[in-house]
Amino acid sequence: MKLLQNKVAELFENGTINLMIGFKEALTKQPVPCFIEKASEIEQLIYTKDCKNNLSVYLHKPEVKQAGKIGILANIATLRALVQLTSENQFWDIEKTVLTVNDKEEVIVFSDMEEVEAYVQANFPEFSEEDLKLLDYLESLSREDRWKYWTEQFSACIKCYACRAVCPMCYCPQCTVECNQPQWIKTSAQTTGNLEWHIMRAMHLAGRCINCGECGRICPVGIPVHLLTVKMNQDLFKEFGTKSGFALKGDYALNSFKPDDKEGFIK
């Protein structure tokens, strides 16, 4: 912990960063995001394997961007998000310094995104076993039962959009649900509109989701929404061999056509 704090202190001192996004311990004893603007606050900084939040989502916030030079303490999901976001041209307006703590508890300060890319590729995470188990279970259901499962789940949704808010890939300044000319999706909390919203979100994240699972973790009504995008990613990998958050020059299945594509109709 000290190692990390010293490193961050150094970054503040030599002017590399003027805002550090990291983790601190909350009253409830769990690690929560913290924002360090002054060297005096550095000692609250912690990093444990329970640091699950994907902090890259904060890099979209105008208040955070204002800082200009930002340090970010990233877990592997966050690193993937940073790689994916770079491939989507999202970081043209900030200077960021990326830190991580590896398995051996060494603090790594990446000098550029290429290094992050290499690190991600060398430590690319598998799908979580828990997710796979649930997905397998859902696969085992009949079509009708699966449909029932999801309609039941979505009927609880109240469209608070917390899933969107925590998602680093949901950075559109105006989400499709907010487009009202035409109004694609009913924004009132009714079951049909909910289904449309979640299906749409899954489609928009297919091949872009970096499997951090934040949306499922934070859903106030407990819908495992992340399974949808995880499943999409699984399928895209199976069908097209693409992995999101893997390369800076993105390989996005939905915007590219390759001559050896399975579907010949497009030729």
């Binding site: 000319q181 928009h204 915007n255």
Partner: protein, 669 residues
């Protein structure tokens, strides 16, 4: 609520025979937003249009729907009428009641219901229409002609003579194409080269024509008026500026056993070569695949003997970028060769030859200097059998179409042979004789009646060799299907005309469509036979379908005139049906996220990165996508792709599309 007028056309009886047009108009009048509805016999006629114009004024219409034929037919007509009536032409939409309804359904109530549904969807769309204004784009007044055969030559000369710049790109070392290989031409029997070579020279010397031979088009991007073309100038290994065309190099070249393409494989050429004596430019290239120096690293004789020091082995392909406003595709054709016909000898009998080979045998510039001698032993054949329709009109061979020129050139071949050897016998097996064309039938009759060519209506089943003779077994269907067997010295197959082997890839480079035989597709088989579906790209010659010289030349001139029309003004107007990235007030500027993933999906490369800057400080405020309205073809791929609907297609906006769907789903009954 908008005030929409609905005009239902009977199209004579084309629509009214199947659809209850009066009912459609009556129902339309009840639709929300419709202020006026009527039906009329011919909406596209002058009185019909006048009715539209008057109704717009009288009923203060804010939009109109014309239920008629496909918008491809009369959309422009009705939009002009709308404009005359005083409303923006893009507030006029067509409900296709002919192609989508009356022509494809029987007269039932359901058919009329479908017509009403279609009108309803379009009415709802029009209620969401916004005025659009044409886009002006500049025109680069240079034409690219791809292919230096007679089609390309004719088109290039016509355009150049009209005062515009022309760039001609020819794949082989010389222009001239297939026509330069021909002996005499039907139906006049004048010498092909005699009429062609002056044109070739004219191309070479024309101040408005830039000629690139031994060159290929690498890629085409851009759009009508503004194409960006990359041309690969293949390495000739000969410095054109130094070479005098003296011929020393090819006389001394030791690789002499390369089948000569110009003579259709009937003779050999060297590795450094100029294809034929009248070649334009008459300067050689090195065929690196067959050159000792390039293959084995030894030789270098040509370099040693060249008095001008023009040989350059280090020369590399060069890619040049050119900007052109329009393109003539005149890439020509190929023919099936004898190996396509196992039943006629697999290409193994030397004396079974194809029509092009016969041309070379009959040509004064050919390997036999115009003497018709058979390839195997050089003897003058006493009996020649000509087989018309070799491959053509043969479903089993996969070629259903008629190659068009074979009937004529077969008659010509037989005639040329008979003229040279009055004592010889010429037989022609044919299916039908197709000799429509000025003086064409007379020509065939002359072969039969004056030159004593034996025409046998029937197919040849087999050809085999026996005692130095080719036994041709067939039937004469006019003689009670009696078997016919001819002992021939030579057999000439009028093999089918086919597309070039690389036609598919050429079409893909040009973004033009092609048929299943890889012949390029015209925009409309009758009314736009010269244009392709890609605006600004024209077709000339046999790359479109089998054609004889007069047809080819006519089409080439037609293509040229289309281009001259295009070049007649400095800018042209385009329909505003293009995609646009939305813009709004600061601080948002646009809802576009600048992810630029759409750059990849645009087939026309019409999307670019835009930096929105503060007007005073120049600071970048936002990065977003931007559509180049000139390049955009309005295909809508980006619209479908954009996650948060930041791109919309003018005239087919999300709002309009959804309103159509909603109209269909929310119908009152």
């Amino acid at each position: 609520m908008a005030r929409i007028g609905v005009f239902i056309c009977h199209c004579g009886e084309n629509i009214s025979a199947t659809v209850d047009v009066a009912k459609v108009a009556e129902e339309a009048a009840k639709m929300p937003g419709v202020a006026y509805a009527m039906d009329y016999k011919y909406m596209c006629s002058d009185p019909g249009q006048t009715k539209i114009i008057e109704a717009i004024k009288e009923h203060k219409l804010t939009g109109i729907v014309v239920g008629a034929c496909s918008p491809r037919m009369h959309e422009a007509t009705f939009r002009k009428a709308a404009e005359k009536g005083g409303i923006n032409p893009f507030l006029c939409e067509i409900a296709n009641l002919r192609e989508q309804v009356s022509w494809v359904h029987p007269r039932t109530e359901a058919t009329t219901r479908k017509a009403i549904d279609i009108v309803r969807t379009i009415v709802n769309k029009v209620s969401k229409d916004t005025p659009l204004f044409p886009i002006k784009v500049p025109v680069t007044k240079t034409a690219l002609v791809i292919g230096g055969g007679i089609a390309g030559i004719q088109a290039a000369l016509d355009i150049a003579n009209a005062g515009h710049q022309v760039i001609m790109v020819e794949k082989s070392p010389s222009i001239g194409g297939h026509m330069s290989q021909l002996s005499e031409t039907f139906p006049t029997l004048d010498c092909s080269q005699c009429i062609l070579t002056p044109r070739m020279v004219e191309v070479a010397q024309h101040p408005n024509i830039t000629l690139h031979t031994f060159a290929e088009v690498e890629s085409v991007s851009g759009f009508v008026g503004n194409f960006d073309v990359k041309v690969r100038l293949k390495a000739r290994s000969v410095d054109m500026s130094k070479c005098t065309g003296c011929g020393t190099c090819w006389q001394k070249c030791p690789s002499k056993k390369i089948p000569d393409e110009f003579n259709a494989g009937l003779s050999y050429r060297t590795a450094i070569y100029s294809p034929f004596p009248q070649a334009v430019p008459n300067k050689p290239v090195i065929d690196r695949a067959n050159c000792n120096y390039f293959q084995k690293g030894k030789c270098g004789i040509c370099k040693k003997v060249c008095p001008a020091g023009a040989i350059d082995y280090e020369m590399e392909d060069e890619i040049i970028d050119i900007k052109v406003g329009a393109i003539v595709t005149a890439t020509g054709f190929d023919i099936k060769h004898t190996d396509f016909f196992p039943e006629y000898g697999y290409g193994e009998f030397k004396d079974v030859i194809d029509g092009l080979q016969f041309e070379r045998l009959a040509s004064a510039s050919g390997p036999t200097s115009g003497e018709i001698r058979r390839p195997s032993d050089g003897k003058i054949p006493e009996k020649i059998v000509f087989l018309a329709c070799s491959g053509s009109r043969d479903k089993a061979k996969g070629i259903e179409y008629c190659s068009k020129i074979c009937c004529m050139y077969t008659a010509k071949h037989a005639m040329l042979y008979k003229h040279k050897h009055h004592e010889g016998n010429a037989y022609v097996f044919y299916m039908d004789i197709r000799s429509a064309g000025k003086n064409y039938d007379e020509f065939v009759r002359r072969a039969i009646e004056e030159d004593d060519v034996h025409y046998i209506r029937g197919r040849v089943s087999r050809i085999y060799e026996k005692d130095g003779k080719l036994i041709v077994k067939g039937v004469d269907t006019l003689m009670n299907a009696e078997p016919v067997e001819i002992e021939a010295d030579m057999v000439v197959l009028a093999t089918a005309v086919v597309a070039n082997p690389d036609a598919e890839s050429v079409a893909q480079k040009m973004h033009i469509s092609y048929d299943k035989h890889h012949f390029f597709a015209e925009a409309h088989p009758k009314l736009r036979p010269v244009e392709t579906n890609t605006a600004g790209i024209m077709l000339a010659g046999a790359c479109q379908t089998a054609k004889d010289i007069p047809d080819t030349v006519s089409q080439a001139s037609a293509a040229a005139s289309k281009i001259m029309g295009l070049f007649s003004s400095d800018e042209m107007t385009r329909e505003p049906v293009v995609a646009v990235v939305n813009r709004c007030m600061p601080p948002l500027f646009t809802t576009c996220t600048g992810c630029l993933l759409c750059l990849e999906v645009c087939p026309y490369h019409a999307i670019e990165r835009e930096e929105i800057k503060d007007r005073r400080t120049g600071e970048i405020l936002k990065v977003a996508a931007k559509v180049n309205a000139g390049l955009c073809q309005g295909c809508g791929t980006c619209v479908a792709f954009c996650r948060n609907k930041s791109i919309d297609l003018q005239g087919f906006s999300n709002q309009q599309m959804l309103s159509e769907v909603v109209a269909l789903l929310n119908k009152p009954f």
